[in-house]
């Protein structure tokens, strides 16, 4: 059994202008120790998906489908379990380290708070653990950091502290929501590598949310590509790049600059803009921007199908590429 199982997860926001279908029919499994990337552009529903898991959605949101963690229904956790669930079983790293630390509290205090609440550790024990955590996230001079305030640390350091805070109670699953978007490019790589190493070292599952396929390419076991609140493609990481099935995934890849391209090569942007999620989805959300789209794509909704190459590789498209294409042509 997978550690985390999402089955047809749906999130709908009830707004004064009518419902907004932010996430629809997202099914995903995350096994113990596995790294899963959720990739999509703004408004693709990737953040809403994890927010629903963390119980962070506003009251106007209606959740459909199920999400289980280790067999437990996340949306209906027993009260005593809930108290020590978030931050212990599942922890989260936020996008912006500038706002995820309290500016008037020392690093040490912020690091130890969670442990003392969840594990009733003594002050000395939690301080020792805080030092250990700062070492773990490779912060130089950790003893000094404990007494410092967030403004005395650089952005990258702060994100390391935020990661250390998330790791405080040994979570089995860490969710990182665009953990490097707010950081300098040079620091981004360090933080991503750190997360990758920590995952291996601590045997912890990781969900890495990003809009950049390049970020998840070498750091995940599995990738879920989202668009318009739906899964477009879900596959082992290599398959996503080697045997791309969905035109959207292909388009995303083509919009990443490649160092080996000859000078002057133009990037291939995806034309148009993301779909309006207030409209009841009845067709492929990507159809208006897709160069392969036919009438069928506009009139009906493609369901997730497996590729012939792998059971693990699914896509939602009438006109798939790669190995899936050969089979559908053969069928015709």
């Amino acid at each position: 059994m997978a550690l985390l199982e999402l089955d047809k997860l749906a999130v709908t926001f009830n707004t004064p202008k009518g419902p907004v279908y932010a996430v629809s029919e997202v099914s995903l499994e995350v096994s113990k120790g596995e790294a899963v990337g959720i990739v999509g552009e703004s408004g693709s529903g990737k953040s809403v998906t994890v927010k629903s898991l963390m119980g962070l959605l506003p009251r106007t949101a209606a959740i459909g489908g199920t999400a289980t963690y280790d067999g437990l229904d996340i949306f209906n956790l027993p009260k005593d379990r809930k108290k020590h669930f978030y931050g212990v079983d599942i922890a989260m790293v936020f996008q912006n380290p500038m706002t995820s630390l309290n500016p008037v509290k020392r690093i040490g205090e912020q690091l130890t708070e969670g442990m003392r609440f969840h594990r009733s550790l003594s002050k000395d024990a939690s301080t020792a653990r805080a030092l250990e955590l700062l070492n773990l996230v490779r912060i130089p001079d950790p003893k000094k950091r404990l007494r410092q305030y967030p403004h005395e640390l650089s952005g990258g350091m702060r994100q390391r502290v935020v990661i250390a805070m998330a790791l405080a109670n040994d979570p089995a699953l860490l969710i990182a929501d665009e953990p490097t978007t707010a950081l300098d490019v040079t620091v981004q790589r360090d933080i991503l590598d750190l997360l990758d190493n920590l995952r291996r070292d601590l045997d912890m599952a990781l969900i890495l949310i990003t809009h950049d396929l390049g970020v998840v390419k070498d750091r995940t076991d599995k990738i879920a590509v989202m668009y318009g609140g739906r899964l477009m493609e879900r596959a082992p990481t290599t398959a996503v790049f080697v045997d791309t099935a969905h035109p959207y995934t292909e388009a995303l890849q083509r919009s990443i600059p490649d160092m080996s391209m000859p000078r002057g090569t133009r990037l291939d942007p995806i034309p148009g803009s993301p779909p309006d999620l207030a409209i009841v989805p009845a067709s492929c959300p990507f159809a208006p921007r897709c160069s392969y789209a036919t009438d069928e794509c506009v009139t009906s909704m493609p369901m997730l199908e497996q590729t012939p190459a792998s059971k693990e590789h699914s896509y939602a498209c009438f006109h798939p590429l790669g190995s899936a294409a050969r089979v559908s042509l053969g069928d015709a």
Partner: protein, 297 residues
């Protein structure tokens, strides 16, 4: 699992060793400490008034009528020969107490309302904001006169009437600050970790909100002291007691008195001026020093 080897792990680059930033005490500056020193002195004198070797402030003919300041009578004497210095020290008791109580009421009520409404938002927030705006639009002096004449001219009621006036400004500041911080991820993180609303407000938000609030509180205390003086000038300050406002009012009640013994009014005016200046300056410095930290974020 791959073994974690140090060389594949990206360590954060070593930061250059910077000299320690100047301590907070140093950053606040000499002016701040002089202000605080002066305020401390005034408070100490006010508290110790009964045991200080000064004349009874109500005793007349301690000096001659409008006796000028001299080594024996530092602040001189007023129209009935009372010791102006003793009057000023005794007057500080009520003036400071009223100023302090008023701002405490504003701080506690306004701060609590601002924090809670800014954090929970919704209908409660709308109601509180409406009350704040109503309070702000109400003519301050009229409200103070209304309360003191209706309920009595005791220290408590005067403080309360001035305190009510302080609720809206303090509350609005607290609410605005809360709005800024409540949306930040550290609050979300605390919520994820299972912190209750009460804990988030007290432990995460309050420490952030209290700094600008204390700066405003010092400024507000100055305003309250002057406001008490205004009430005294209108003849509706604490009945029976002495206060700076009352003292100034009595010494300056006629052009004749001011002409014959200007020192009887000018000394308490000077002390009020220096007290309010000190409060303002200290408040400003606190805001400047701690705001700079906020900017660095």
């Amino acid at each position: 699992m791959a073994e974690l080897t140090p060389d594949v792990v990206a360590a954060a680059p070593e930061e250059p060793v910077l000299p320690d930033p100047p301590s907070i005490a140093k950053q606040l500056g000499l002016g701040f400490w002089i202000s605080v020193g002066f305020l401390g002195l005034i408070v100490a004198l006010a508290v110790l008034a009964p045991v200080l070797p000064i004349a009874d402030p109500n005793e007349t003919a301690v000096g001659g009528k409008f006796e000028s300041p001299n080594p024996g009578l530092w602040f001189g004497a007023d129209s009935t020969g009372r010791d102006v210095l003793a009057l000023t020290i005794w007057g500080a008791r009520i003036s400071l107490l009223v100023g302090f109580l008023a701002i405490m009421i504003g701080f506690l009520v306004g701060g609590t309302l601002g924090l809670v409404s800014g954090y929970f938002r919704g209908v409660f927030d709308k109601i509180v904001s409406f009350v704040f705006v109503t309070l702000l639009s109400f003519p301050a002096l009229i409200l103070a006169i209304l309360i003191t004449t209706l309920l009595g001219r005791t220290v408590f009621w005067i403080s309360l009437s001035l305190g009510i006036l302080a609720i809206a400004p303090v509350g609005r500041l607290a609410r605005a600050q809360t709005l800024v911080f409540a949306e930040r991820d550290f609050v979300t993180a605390a919520r994820i970790l299972g912190a209750s609303d009460k804990r988030i407000i007290m432990k995460e938000l309050l420490p952030n909100v209290v700094i600008p609030m204390s700066a405003l509180a010092l400024l507000g205390m100055g305003i309250a002291i002057v406001a008490e003086g205004t009430l005294a000038f209108l003849g509706i300050s604490v009945s029976g007691g002495l206060s700076w406002g009352k003292q100034i009012f009595e010494a300056g009640s006629s052009a004749r008195n001011l002409q014959d013994g200007p020192h009887a009014a000018l000394f308490p005016i000077g002390v009020v001026f220096l007290t309010v200046l000190s409060l303002n300056y200290a408040g400003d410095r606190i805001r400047e020093v701690f705001d700079a930290k906020e900017l660095a974020l």
